[in-house]
């Protein structure tokens, strides 16, 4: 990382402040002059987009909570009150509901990017693990948020998903009772889900700060996967990446606004505009689109407990990624085999999403099983094997030096690796 630059307070006040609370120094070092690899592409703008998504969800959520009533007999009507009677209530609510979808869309791209460029590898394991924690919290928050409108899908989705807990031996039943605040999804469930749905975004916010902190210790990965060597490899975060991130975010906003203003209900299920009725089960119970891949994994397994374990396992396995893929070369650019298996992985993930919306029978069930097997095999079998056998392509010496590094057989330019010595000025 580049440490040539030092923040120097310019006027009397900033000197005074710098000795007491180095706020300006912090902002300067982390937001303005922060040295960032100069070759980051648009996939690297999703971190900023995700931060904006979180902020949007929190702000719109706080406003919604001012009008929403977490009570089974009033919740559904209070949402309609927001839609019809609250000034711009429809806007706030559509921003929040579609914002959740946008949030997940962005996080999926962000995660696939990390997988492709090996951003989870040494020295960025903690960043990745914190990211998985955020993702897990997002899923829980999103699921609880979907329950709040108290529509048919809210109620039955909550019933199906919470009942999964009951499959866990011994502790399952008491934990389920605690989760529901009773023996079935009812008013106490709605109350605690509302409370937690309000709490968790702030927990996410906290973990995001840790995530960014960890990122600012190691510095960014980049599309070559070669570590930054000197200041020639970097540009300051501001104005380069503030402007690039903002541009990317505005493009993202355009898509977001299309959904808000022109197709606000397409990502939701029509049944959720029917008030929850515990006596009437919908023909198909489907979760929100972003949970469909996990739902498909759950239903691919004939045994209920195994299904639950695999569903949670599909996220838990991500925590171990840095130790499953031990290949020193980070970026898939220089890993021809990994690149193929990665693209297959993306396709199978999308397929799982598609299958999650289909009934678990016939060809759909078969495909779900194949995809589930590939999902786990990618992490548990393919990654460790590739780490041993794959021969990476010749790599450039550095980010700013496209000359091929003949000396490198498997060094991805990890700190302390011999390639550092090759760095010529």
């Amino acid at each position: 990382m580049n440490h040539d630059y030092q923040y120097t307070p310019k006027n009397g006040f900033s000197k005074w402040l710098d000795k007491r609370l180095p706020l300006m120094r912090f902002a300067d070092e982390n937001l303005l002059s922060f040295p960032t690899p100069k070759n980051l592409n648009y996939f690297y703008t999703f971190g900023f987009i995700l931060t904006m998504c979180l902020v949007t969800q929190i702000i719109t959520g706080i406003v919604l909570a001012m009008h929403y009533v977490p009570n089974t007999s009033l919740a559904f009507d209070s949402i309609e009150h927001i839609m019809r009677d609250v000034n711009y209530g429809w806007l706030i609510r559509y921003m929040h509901s579609n914002g959740a979808s946008m949030f997940f869309l962005a996080v999926f791209i962000h995660m696939f990017r990390g997988l492709y460029y090996g951003s989870y590898k040494e020295p960025r394991e903690i960043i990745w693990i914190l990211g998985v924690v955020i993702f897990l919290l997002m899923i829980i928050t999103g699921f609880m948020g979907y329950v709040l409108p108290w529509g048919q899908m809210s109620f039955w989705g909550a019933t199906v998903i919470t009942n999964l807990v009951a499959t866990i031996p011994v502790i399952g039943e008491p934990v389920l009772t605690l989760l529901l605040g009773g023996y079935s999804v009812d008013n106490p469930t709605l109350n605690r889900f509302f409370s937690l749905h309000y709490l968790l975004p702030f927990v996410i916010f906290g973990v995001v700060i840790l995530h960014i902190w960890a990122l600012h210790v190691t510095g960014n990965n980049n599309p070559t996967g070669i570590e930054v060597k000197d200041s020639k490899d970097t540009i300051s975060f501001h104005p380069y990446y503030t402007v690039k991130d903002l541009f990317s975010y505005v493009v993202f906003l355009l898509m977001f606004c299309y959904f808000i203003f022109y197709n606000p209900n397409i990502l939701g299920h029509p049944d959720n505009y029917i008030e929850a009725d515990p006596m009437l089960t919908p023909a198909h119970i489907v979760p929100e689109w972003y949970l469909l891949p996990f739902y498909a994994i759950l239903r691919a397994v004939p045994d209920k407990l195994m299904g639950v374990l695999l569903m949670f396992g599909s996220i838990i396995v991500l925590f171990f990624l840095p130790w499953l893929d031990t290949m020193k070369v980070k970026s898939a650019r220089y890993r021809p085999l990994y690149k193929i298996f990665f693209l297959l992985f993306v396709i199978f993930c999308l397929l799982l999403g598609y299958l999650g919306a289909k009934p678990p029978e016939g060809i759909y069930l078969l495909l779900s099983r194949v995809s589930t097997i590939y999902y786990f095999a990618f992490f548990l079998v393919i990654m460790p094997i590739l780490s041993r056998i794959e021969k990476p392509l010749p790599m450039p010496i550095g980010i700013s030096n496209p000359a091929i590094n003949n000396n490198s057989d498997s060094s991805g330019g990890v700190s302390g690796s011999p390639s550092y010595a090759m760095d010529s000025k």
């Binding site: 100069k38 592409n41 648009y42 996939f43 009507d77 309609e80 839609m83 019809r84 429809w90 806007l91 559509y94 979808s101 869309l105 999926f108 791209i109 492709y116 540009i235 104005p239 380069y240 402007v243 690039k244 903002l246 541009f247 505005v250 493009v251 906003l253 355009l254 898509m255 606004c257 299309y258 808000i260 203003f261 022109y262 606000p264 209900n265 397409i266 990502l267 299920h269 029509p270 049944d271 505009y273 029917i274 023909a283 198909h284 489907v286 689109w289 469909l292 650019r333 693209l343 999308l350 999403g353 598609y354 919306a357 289909k358 700013s400």
Partner: protein, 259 residues
């Protein structure tokens, strides 16, 4: 590498496509008729005359069994809806009465309705509604368009889709046959016949016309803020498009010297 870079667009399209697929996963096998509505499309606005007629059909036919609990009479005069004159809405509301509060002897007080009151409920309770309709509950219509896949086309098709001839292999008992209803056997009898209502504006009340007007009215009722949403959307999108061009120029300028 380039394939991967360009794939971001395909990726978006795929995810959006898949999510749409989620919703189409459980449609009726019968394809809805699409008569074409004025509110469709990014600049669509409601046909106010059709909304007025639609309200007339609702209040004269549908409202005997179906409530619309999310709507108040005042909504009928609000911009972006049928836009009845305020005086007329007062008159419409005063035609109904409601038990509200108590007099000085503690007896329930009856008064005529005001524009601020919700549409009257056809039944006192869900049980009463079921009892009066052979055990079938006539759903509230406030959100019916949003609560059904391809809502307005579905409603239009359903309302004009009743058929006398029942397929031979079907036994539907007391129910009516309507191929647009999932399963084909529907508890609601055919509600609209030629001249079921006499339109105040003189439009001939064909089944097709009434179905169209009701579908129009219920679409508005499901989201009275639709016109405002599309209008604001145009302004916001317009701003963002200009903004995104400026941002693009800024990025290109800024990175011109970064090699």
């Amino acid at each position: 590498m380039n394939i991967f870079k360009n794939n971001i667009f395909i990726f978006f399209v795929l995810i959006i496509g898949l999510s749409m697929n989620v919703n189409s996963a459980e449609g009726t096998t019968f394809k809805n008729l699409k008569p074409g509505f004025s509110f469709e499309g990014p600049f669509g606005k409601f046909d106010k005359e059709s909304l007025k007629r639609g309200y007339q059909v609702y209040s004269e036919v549908c409202s005997s069994c179906h409530g619309m609990k999310q709507l108040s009479f005042r909504n009928l005069s609000q911009p972006g809806g049928p836009e009845f004159p305020t005086e007329m809405v007062k008159e419409i509301a005063s035609g109904y009465s409601i038990t509200d509060g108590f007099n000085e002897y503690g007896e329930p007080l009856e008064r005529s309705m005001l524009p601020s009151d919700r549409f009257p409920k056809p039944y006192g309770s869900k049980e009463e509604a079921k009892g009066a309709n052979n055990g079938a509950y006539p759903p509230d219509l406030s959100l019916i368009v949003k609560a059904r896949l391809d809502g307005y086309n579905y409603l239009y098709s359903l309302l004009k889709g009743y058929e006398e001839e029942i397929p031979e292999d079907m036994d539907i008992g007391d129910l009516s046959y309507n191929p647009w209803y999932p399963g084909g056997a529907i508890a609601m009898y055919q509600p609209l016949y030629e001249d079921s209502v006499e339109y105040e504006d003189g439009t001939p009340a064909t089944v097709d016309q009434m179905s169209y007007d009701v579908a129009n009215f219920l679409t508005w009722a499901a989201e009275p803020t639709m016109e405002e949403r599309k209008r604001l959307g145009f302004i916001v999108m317009g701003f963002l498009i200009i903004f995104v061009i400026l941002m693009y120029l800024s990025v290109s300028r800024l990175f011109r010297d970064v090699h």
